[in-house]
Symmetry: C7
Subunit: 249 residues, 7 copies
C-alpha cells in the first residue's frame, strides 16, 4: 500500500497501478466494511434466506425506517450492505431495470439477469473518470423458474456470481469460514429445508458477532418455492428461530 | 485526519480515502455546525414538532425574514439547519419535487417519499466531480395518511431515516443524549400528546444551550393529526410553553 | 488563514476546507471591500433610503456615468457595492428576472422575491466548479404591497435577508455599529419618517468616513409609500440634508 | 506580486487571490501596455476626438492596413489599443451587436449601450474558466441623440464608463495627468470647440511621447454634432493641426 | 520501469512515454495475470478447443455461475481470461456486435470479423483520455465457412491475430513454450484430430500448472466441423480425456 | 525565458504570464522557423510575387508533391511557411471559407477579407484552452478590384496586415532588412513592374540564403493585373530570371 | 531530451515546448520503430511495389492472419508499419473515406487524395488534447489516371508526400541511404520496369536487415499500369525474385 499511497495511483479511479490494481475499488470495499454491519445469505433446496443486522444508529431512530432489505419486484429481494445513500441509489436503479424489463419483454426479470445487469452498472463506475465506485454490496434472492432458489452477490468492482451461501460486510471472512463448514458433507448439495436454511443463516450471524441476537436486531428476508414472494419474517417468527437455535446448541 | 489533509484525498469530492472515507462530505457536516444553530424534532402520538433557534445575525436584521422553517406543501414542513444559501436551494428543489409529484400522480407527495427523494439528490452531490455536497441538514415533518406523524432527517451524505426525536446542528450530540432519556420507558412508544411533544422539543433546546430562551429566539413548527397543515406557533403561544416548562421544572 | 493558503483549499471554488469553509467566497468579500466604497441602507416607517459614495476614479470620468444605484423596475431600486463589471452583470440579471416575472404572472415582481432569486443565483456560483463567486453586494429596496418598506441585502455567498438598516463595503462593520445605536430604543420600531431615514443614512456614512461629505460625493436613492418609484435625490436636496445634519450636530 | 506568483493564484483565471485580486486580468493590462502604443480621447462641447499612434511595425507594411480606428456603425467609432488580433475579435463582436440591435429595434444602437454591452462581454471572460481576458482597451465615440458627444472606455476587467477625456496604453498615466490639467477651470464644462478638442488630444499625445509627431504617425478619428458620421482626419488636416499646435506653443 | 513510475508517464492513459510505450496498457496485462488463471486454445484440422481453469473463489460459490466460457452466437465461443467484471462487459459488447451484424447483413458474423471488431473496441480504450484499457484477454473460436477451424486472441492493447494454438493468463509464457513443441514437425500443419486437439489443450494446462487437474476444475469448450455449435464438454467427457492423458503419459 | 520556463506559464495556452505574454504563441513562431525555409513576398505596381524554397526532405521524395504554394481560389494564392500538416489544415479552411463566401454573396471573396478571416481563426486558437496555436505563417496574394495588387501576411498570433514586401521563416529578419533597402526611395511607391517584382523577390531570397539558387529549388507564385489567376512560374521562366539576376549583379 | 523530460512539456499532447517541438509526436515515431519491422516502397515507370517483413510474433500464430498489407479499394493498397491496433484503426478509416468518396462523387478516390485526407486526420490528433497521435506509418500505392504510378507516405505528425522510393520503420534511415544510391543517375527518372521495381525493393530490405530473407518472411504488394488492382505476390513469385537477386549479386 505504501507505494500506491505515495505515488498517487490510488487517487485516480480509472487508472491501473503498476501492479494492475484499481485502488479506488479497494477503498470502496473498506467503506462498506466501515459501516460495521454483516449480512448472511444461505440457499436451501427450496428456499433462500438473507439475514442482516438491523442496527439502529441511535435510539431515537424509528426502527421501521431502518432496513437493508428491499423488494425489487414482488419476487426478487435485495439485501444490501454498505453506505445507505449509495444503497438507496442502487435500489432505485434495480427497480427501474426490473420495470423496464417487464415493459419490454412482458414477463418478470429473472433474478440472475437483474443481478448481472446491476453488476454491469457497477463495473461502469470503475471504468469512467467522473464517478466513484458504489460503496454497496448487494445480495439478490429469488426463485428462478428453471434454476430454483437463487442467491447472487454483487460487489463494487462489478463482480457478480451465484452462491450456496455467502456473506458481506465487516465480518464477511469469519462468516464465510463458518458457512463453509456447514455447507459441506451431507449439506453440500443444498439439502437444507426452509427451517435449516433460515437457522443456518441466523446462527452464522450470531456466531461471527459472538453475541446473542435479539429478534429486533435482525432482518430476515426469505423466498420459498411455495411462496415465491420476497417477504421479511415477523419479529415473532425470528424469535422462534432464535429460541430453536439456542435450544439446539 | 493528518493523513487525509496531507495527501490530498480530502480535496477531491468523488474519491475514497484509503480508509474508505469521503472527506468532503465530512467537511460539509462541519460547515453545518459552524453556523452555530441547533434544531430539535420530536414526534408525538398525534403531532410532530420542530424547534430551532432564531438567531438574528445582527440587531439590524429584520427578524421577520430570518427563518429556518419552510412550508414545502401545505402539509409538509421542513426545518433546515446549515448554510442559509444552500438551505434556500434545497427549499426550491423540495417544492419543485412536491409540485411535480402532485402534477404526475394527482395527490400530495407523502412526506417519507419527499424526504427520500431529497436525500437521493444529496447522494448525487457526493458522487459526481462537479459539485460540492450541500451544507444543509433537513428535517421533514408531516402527518402521513397511513403512518401518522412522521419526522425524517436528511444529511449531506444523503442519509435519510425516520426518527422518534432527533436533532441537528452544533449541539446535536448533546440534544440526542437529552432526547434519548426522554423517549424511553413509558414514552418510548411515542406516547407524547401535542403539548408534551412541543415542550419536550423546547426544553431539550433550552437544556443543551444552557440558557433561558425567549420566545422571539425560537421558531416552533407543528403538524397535528387534527390540523395537518404545517404552521409556526405564534410568539405568545411559545411564551406560554416556556412559562409552563419553567414552572414545571 | 495560513492553513488554507498553504494547502490549496482556497484555490478550488467548489470544495470545503477541513473546517467547512469555502475560501473563494471569503476572498470575494475581500474583493468587494478592496473597491474602497461604503454603502448604507436605512428603512423608515414609510420609506427606504440607500446611500453610497460616488467615487470618481479620476477627474476626467464623466460623473454622470458613475453610479451604483440602479433602477431594476420602476419601483425597485438596487444599490450595489463591489467590482463594477460584476455589478453590471447582476443588474442585467435582475432586470431580466423582473421582466420574466411580469411576463409570466402579469404583475410586478415583489422586492423580496427578486432579492431571493438573485441570491439563489449567487449561491449557484459557489457550488459549481466553472465560475467564481460574484464580487458584488446588493441592497434591494422597494415598497411592498403588504409588508410596506423593504430593504434586502445579498452577498457573494448567496445570503439574503431583510434589514432595518445595514451597510456594505469597506467600512461595513463601523457603519453597522453606528446604525445599531440609532435603531434602538424609541427608533427600534422603524419609527423614522422620510427625513429621519435619509439623514440617518447620510450621517452614518459621514461618520464612518470621518469627513464632511459634499453632495456630489454621494448618491442617495429613495422609495416612499407616497411615491413608490425608485429615484435618486438631486444634488440640491442632498445638500439640504447635509446642511441640516451639520446644523443638528 | 511575489505572493501571487509563487502560490499559483495568478495561473487560474477564475479564482480570487486571498487579497481578492484576479491576476489574469491584471496581466492582460500589461499585455496591452506591452504593445507600446498610446491613445487619447477628448470630448468637446460638440465633438469627440480620438487620437492614436499609427506605428508601422516595419517599413514594408502597407500603412493603409495599419489602423486602430474602426467604424462600428456609420456614427459610432472605436479606437482600440492592445493586441491587434484581440482587437479584431472585438471589432467583429461590436459590429455584430450593433447589427443585431438595429435589426431588433429598428434604430441605431446608442453608443453608451454598445459600449456597455461590450464591457459585459469582457466581464464574462473574467468569470469563466475556459477563456483568457481580452488584451484590448476600447474607446467608443459617438453623438448621442440626447446626451450629445459621448466618449466611453472599456477595459479587460469589463469596466466601462464615460469620460470627458481619457487615455489608454503605455503612457496612459502620463496622458491622464496632462488631460486633468487641461480639462479644468474654464474647460471643466467641456467647453472645447471642435478645433480645441482635436488639438488638445493631439498635443496630449505629443507631450507624453516627448517628440514631434508627423501626420503619418497619427490616426485621428472624429464625430461632431454637425456631422455625426465617424471619420478619420486626412493627413493634410492632421498636418494643419500639428502646425497650429507648434505655432501656439 | 523506474523511469515511468517516477515521472508520471504511467498515470496518463493516452500519452506515450519518451520510449514510445503506453504504460497503462502494460499494467492492464498485469491485472489480467493477477487473476491467477491460465487458458489454452488449440486448433486442430477439424476442431478448435479452448480450455481454462474453473477456479471457485470460495467453496460457497455456486460452481454453475462461475464460467469463463461464453457463447457469443450459437457457433462462436469465447474463452476469456482476466477481471470478471470487464469480461462481462466484453461479452455484452460481443453479443451486441454479433446481433447487429446478423440484423444488417442477414447472416451470422464470421468469427474473424467479430474478433477484429472487438479488438478495434479495445484499441479505442487505449487512445482516449476518459477510459482505462480493458483487463481482459479473449480467445474467439468458431468454424469459418471458408477458413475452417479458427482461433483468435485479442488483448488489452487491441492486438488480434489468428493462432494454431495459444495461451492467456498467468502461465501464458510456459504454455506457449509447451505448445510450440507440440505444434511442430508432423503436427505443424494442424494435423490434430478432435481428440488430439482436446488432449493437447488439457495436457498443456496440466503441464504448466504442475498438478493433476480434476474434471470439475476445468472448462473445455469445443467447436468441430461436424458440429459447429460452440459447446462445453460435460464433466464425464473431460474425465475420460484426463484418464486417457494420464494413461498415455 | 528562465522565468516562464520555470513557473509554468508557458505550459498553459490560455493564460497570460505576469509580463502579459502568451508563451505558447511565441513557441509556435519557433516551430515555424525550425522548418528551415524562408519565403518572400513582393508587391509591385501591377503584380504580386511570392517566392519560397522548395526543399526536398530527401532525394527520394517526388518533387511534384512538395509545394508551399496553394491556389485558394482561381485568383487568390497562398504561400505558407511552417509545419506542413498545419499548413494543409489552413489550406482546407481557407478554401472552405472562400467557397462559403461565394455561395453566400455570389461573388469571389476579396483577398483582404479572406486573409482577415483566416487570422480571426488563428486568434481563436490562442484564446481557448483546447487547441494549440497553428505553426504556420501564410501570405495571401491577389489582385483586388479596387485596391489592385494585395499582399497579406498572417501569423500564429492572429496578426494580419498588408505589406509592400515581406518575408516569413527562418531568415525572416534578414530578408526584411534586404527588402527595406529595395523598397524605398524611387521604389517606395511600389513602382516595380512585373519583372522587377519577381526579380526583387528572388534576389532577396538568394541574398539571405547566401547561395546561388537553382530553378528547381524555388517556387515562384504570381498574380498580375493582366492575368489575375494565381499561377506558378515554370522552371524555365525561373531560370531566365535567375540568369538575369546574376547578369545584372 | 533532458529538458523536455524533466519539465513536463512532453506529457501534454497539444502544447509546444519552448523550442517549438511537439514531444508526443516524436514519441509516436519511437513507438513505430519499437515494433522492429522495416518496410520499403519503390515506384517504377509502370508499377509501384511495397515490401515489408512478415514477422510472426511466435510460432503458434497463424501466418495467414499476420499482414501489414491492406487493400483499401480494389486499386489502392496500403503497407503499414507500426502498432498493429493503431494500424487497424487507420485501415477502417481509410476504407470509410474511400467509400464515402465513391458514394459522393461516383468514381474511385484518387490515391493522392486519400493519402492526404488520412494525413489530415493524423494532424488533428496532434492538435487536440484528448487523443494521442497514431503510432502508424502508412504507404499508399496506386496507379493514378493522370499521374501514373503513385507512392505516398503518411506519418504520425500528419506529413504526407509522394516518393520515388521510401522506407518506414526501424531501419528507415539505412534503407533510404540504400535507395538514394539506386534511384539516381540513369534510374532517377523512375526508369525501373516492374521486375526492377520489385527487386530493388526486396534487395533493399535484404541489404538493411543484413540477412538472406525467405519468401515467407516477406510481404510484397504491387500495382501495375497493366493490372491496376492491388495484389500480393505469391510465395513462389517472391522466391523467384529472391533467387534472381542472389544470382545477380
Amino acid at each position: 500500500m505504501s507505494r500506491g499511497s505515495g505515488s498517487g495511483y490510488d487517487r485516480h479511479i480509472t487508472i491501473f497501478s503498476p501492479e494492475g490494481r484499481l485502488y479506488q475499488v479497494e477503498y470502496a470495499f473498506k467503506a462498506i466494511k466501515s459501516v460495521g454491519v454483516t449480512s448472511i445469505g444461505v440457499r436451501g433446496k427450496d428456499s433462500v434466506c438473507v439475514v442482516t443486522q438491523k442496527k439502529i444508529p441511535d435510539k431515537l431512530v424509528d426502527p421501521a425506517d431502518v432496513t437493508h432489505m428491499f423488494k425489487i419486484t414482488k419476487v426478487i429481494g435485495m439485501c444490501a450492505t454498505g453506505k445507505s445513500p449509495d444503497i438507496r441509489n442502487v435500489v432505485q436503479k434495480a427497480r427501474h431495470k426490473a420495470a423496464e424489463f417487464r415493459h419490454e419483454f412482458g414477463y418478470e426479470i429473472p433474478v440472475d439477469f437483474l443481478s448481472t445487469r446491476m453488476a454491469d452498472e457497477f463495473q461502469v463506475y470503475t471504468q469512467h473518470a467522473y464517478m466513484r465506485p458504489m460503496a454497496a454490496m448487494c445480495m439478490f434472492v429469488g426463485i428462478d423458474e428453471e434454476k430454483g432458489p437463487c442467491l447472487f452477490k454483487n460487489d463494487p468492482a462489478g463482480y457478480c456470481v451465484g452462491y450456496k451461501a455467502t456473506s458481506a460486510g465487516v465480518k464477511e471472512q469469519e462468516a464465510i469460514n463458518f458457512l463453509e463448514k456447514k455447507v459441506k458433507g451431507e449439506n453440500a448439495g443444498n439439502a437444507f429445508d426452509e427451517t435449516e436454511t433460515i437457522q443456518t443463516a441466523i446462527s452464522c450471524l450470531q456466531s461471527v458477532l459472538g453475541e446473542d441476537l435479539k429478534s429486533k436486531e435482525l432482518e430476515v428476508g426469505i423466498v420459498t418455492t411455495e411462496n415465491k414472494n420476497f417477504r421479511l419474517l415477523s419479529s415473532d417468527v425470528i424469535e422462534e428461530h432464535l429460541t430453536a437455535i439456542s435450544e439446539r446448541d
